[in-house]
Symmetry: C2
Amino acid sequence: MRRFAADRARRAVAASLRGAASRSAAPSPHPPAPRHPAYPVGAAAMAAAMSTAAAGAPPVSLDTINPKVLKCEYAVRGEIVTHAQNLQQELQKNPESLPFDEILYCNIGNPQSLGQQPVTYFREVLSLCDHPALLDKSETHALYSSDAIERAWQIIEKIPGRATGAYSHSQGVKGLRDEIAAGIATRDGFHASGDNIFLTDGASPAVHMMMQLLISSEKDGILCPIPQYPLYSASIALHGGSLVPYFLDEEAGWGLEVDELKKQLEEARSKGITVRALVVINPGNPTGQVLAEENQKKIVEFCKNDGLVLLADEVYQENIYVEDKQFHSFKKIARSLGYTDDDLPLVSFQSVSKGYYGECGKRGGYMEITGFSPEVREQIYKVASINLCSNVSGQILASLVMNPPKAGDESFESFMLERDDILSSLARRAKALEEAFNSLEGITCNKAEGAMYLFPRLHLPQKAIGAAQAAGTAPDAYYAKRLLEATGIVVVPGSGFGQVPGTWHFRCTILPQEDKIPAIISRFKEFHEKFMDEFRD
Amino acid sequence: MRRFAADRARRAVAASLRGAASRSAAPSPHPPAPRHPAYPVGAAAMAAAMSTAAAGAPPVSLDTINPKVLKCEYAVRGEIVTHAQNLQQELQKNPESLPFDEILYCNIGNPQSLGQQPVTYFREVLSLCDHPALLDKSETHALYSSDAIERAWQIIEKIPGRATGAYSHSQGVKGLRDEIAAGIATRDGFHASGDNIFLTDGASPAVHMMMQLLISSEKDGILCPIPQYPLYSASIALHGGSLVPYFLDEEAGWGLEVDELKKQLEEARSKGITVRALVVINPGNPTGQVLAEENQKKIVEFCKNDGLVLLADEVYQENIYVEDKQFHSFKKIARSLGYTDDDLPLVSFQSVSKGYYGECGKRGGYMEITGFSPEVREQIYKVASINLCSNVSGQILASLVMNPPKAGDESFESFMLERDDILSSLARRAKALEEAFNSLEGITCNKAEGAMYLFPRLHLPQKAIGAAQAAGTAPDAYYAKRLLEATGIVVVPGSGFGQVPGTWHFRCTILPQEDKIPAIISRFKEFHEKFMDEFRD
């Protein structure tokens, strides 16, 4: 072999690496070089390439990076949070420097950061799976409940070679996926299959995977609620698609009207957008509404009739705080309408970060995909396999939250106590905050039927709007900044989620621990009243 | 408020969600509707949108998904592995049906799947951090070493609110990043900062993040070694860039020649490609070579002079098997040349999946980024924040592998024993397999100086090439399939990594446990000799 092969041969390998040629490459030992290499050739590009090197410009700048990255926004950890982190550092250096003694992060659904304790049983099992050598030791029984030990054994046996430190199957450990499917079947009363589960590091990577699959260009549209969780707008921007907004009806408790979906779909189509999918967040984020069954049926029919993939964000399925509402998965609704796997492509996202467990740091989650052809599923699998697998502790936790202890298990009673404590406290906190907001001049707030947020509307005086304008920010961002600086409370301006233009909101989690809620409410009230006094028209 | 705002207002919100307008939106309560909505309008797109809905075509098909997804390939978990999984199922159903009794997965660097045991100390600490309630109990001392308990305490104290179940800072827990930076500084003898560390779920998401940042279109090129780890080709394809290949010199022990880099860079530039970055994998994957310090210096100078980002895949930094080679990080090399943060953008990828730890299932890893402007770093941070954070157990493990027990710690001796056992056994396995391959007719194999792989070259008889052609596959894929079917050994054909056209290789890990190596070698030899007998020209 010559030290380096001829250039033409190299171009061939370059072309084959760019394309899919290697999959079924013709086995010629000396493939001819392509006559036109696959590189795009253009005078402008060439000039650009030359100038970068020649002018000694920095190799990476805002002018040269991917504009899709520049474009995307993620308000939940945006400007206001950076400002809060700076204030926190100030507070650490000089505790007397600010009119409050702690920063209260109500910007993000991160329960354990605000003091929620992890569910003991789940952590026992995780701890044992991390150090399986303990399972054989008698001393272990002094520290762990016996059903947690038993469950850890069962899990370890499901993992090939008992190797919790190995990459799993790219969809996740088969035995854990089967267990999740069993949990889904129990929840819904309809069959579920572990083959349809893709375990992921939280729900976010699953959403990205679907956006990556569905979006080829800005001509591909995704119907998204407004207001929406900004992961969706960010992911659509990163993948270069078009967000097709549909508006939730604030006056109807953030209702989702199918007429509005139809109208927006038609409007998008008339502009040459191929709408690929509908995102529904139920229970809603940031809006907290829980969809009624009848409403969900209409949504399923809409997707079926209009050939849309239904992307169902169901991560708050355990977070329901009102007696008259119940969570129904979209798969259950579709199956109850008689639709099978052949009728409707449907993806359900679930996460270990929410519910009563709130295990955000574990990055566990899954998507259940049904109604996709085998060829398309193979493509989804391929993309999953490029990242090898999601973290196995997160996989284990996902299987636990979908199959918690059962009546009769040693841990059942203490588990239920922890669970119900958290959920009932969240319900009380949601109510207390909602009532507090509604008691104030210039704020109206829908009930949080579910999820972890309130999304109050600010009816701001014109003078406040003018002050924001003078400060060069949106009025809700101005309000949130003033609130932070006066009270240490961090909320996210509504503009980060989208809102009907000319209306202003903020998102506030219901997650501060219950004993802090009265103080938060009074700090908030005091700020708000002063703010209104300052700006009342 | 009217139930729905006017359409023009909605279009405005849609436009603002697509763009960055919300960041500093002018706070007009009634923004004018854009005269030309941002949707692309075109007769072809409109016809396409209409036809999808009208013709009742399936909502998602290979014709409608993102062609970049279709294009990308990932051989390490590709066709041959699917075939192996099917054979494994066959074997479970009917153990006598095949000429072997187990499938040996030598396709992937997944040590614990082949029996490597996790390092006890690391698992003790992880187990304690998963269930911090144990830290207060006296019984815990019966099960865990006292320095693991002490370390778990230290780690828990570094996590704000001791909340291992909370989302961390989007770059990872600050205290853990600082600890990693301290480990890097000890390794290199040069300063490192926790502010430059981004903790990630394994190294793969970090690679994707950088590709996403650097690639805007096919006019952006990334210099990659051939052969390469196919994460790179897949990630470049997914992000729509151009892979600019440079060839490692097999006859010089897979040497990396800077002249070759220069030539390929110039060739790409002459075709209008703006080359953004150079990927170097050191120690090499799939090739196993360890770069010499002098060579690394030239590579750094090349990047500096030509304005390229240096993307250094250093995940095998602990896997060195020869006396005369040593790992030097590219950052150390750059600093030793006197280059500072201002001179050269440099990214180092590290993972908990490799080394002697091999904790693939934990999905821990980080990238250390230096030499980027604050504005660009902010963009990287924004993208990280969209996914909230990497899994905290993986973060903890990354901090442990960069700061293992020290002399004097209770666990130090047993830790060193476990570590050295694994590394010296890997060295012996690499040597035994290399010698076995080189002893065979028609195989030549470079030494594995490091990493976890051998990449032997197959000098196949024309008759074998013809047989592959008749079967419609590449000769090395044909060989790998025959090998699997005869022996149960899974290797990855060289075409999945790229190779000089007309040459054929396969990648084989050195990971089967040592007591199995002799049997594997004899199974392999027997197959290969028969194969050569069948096809000898």
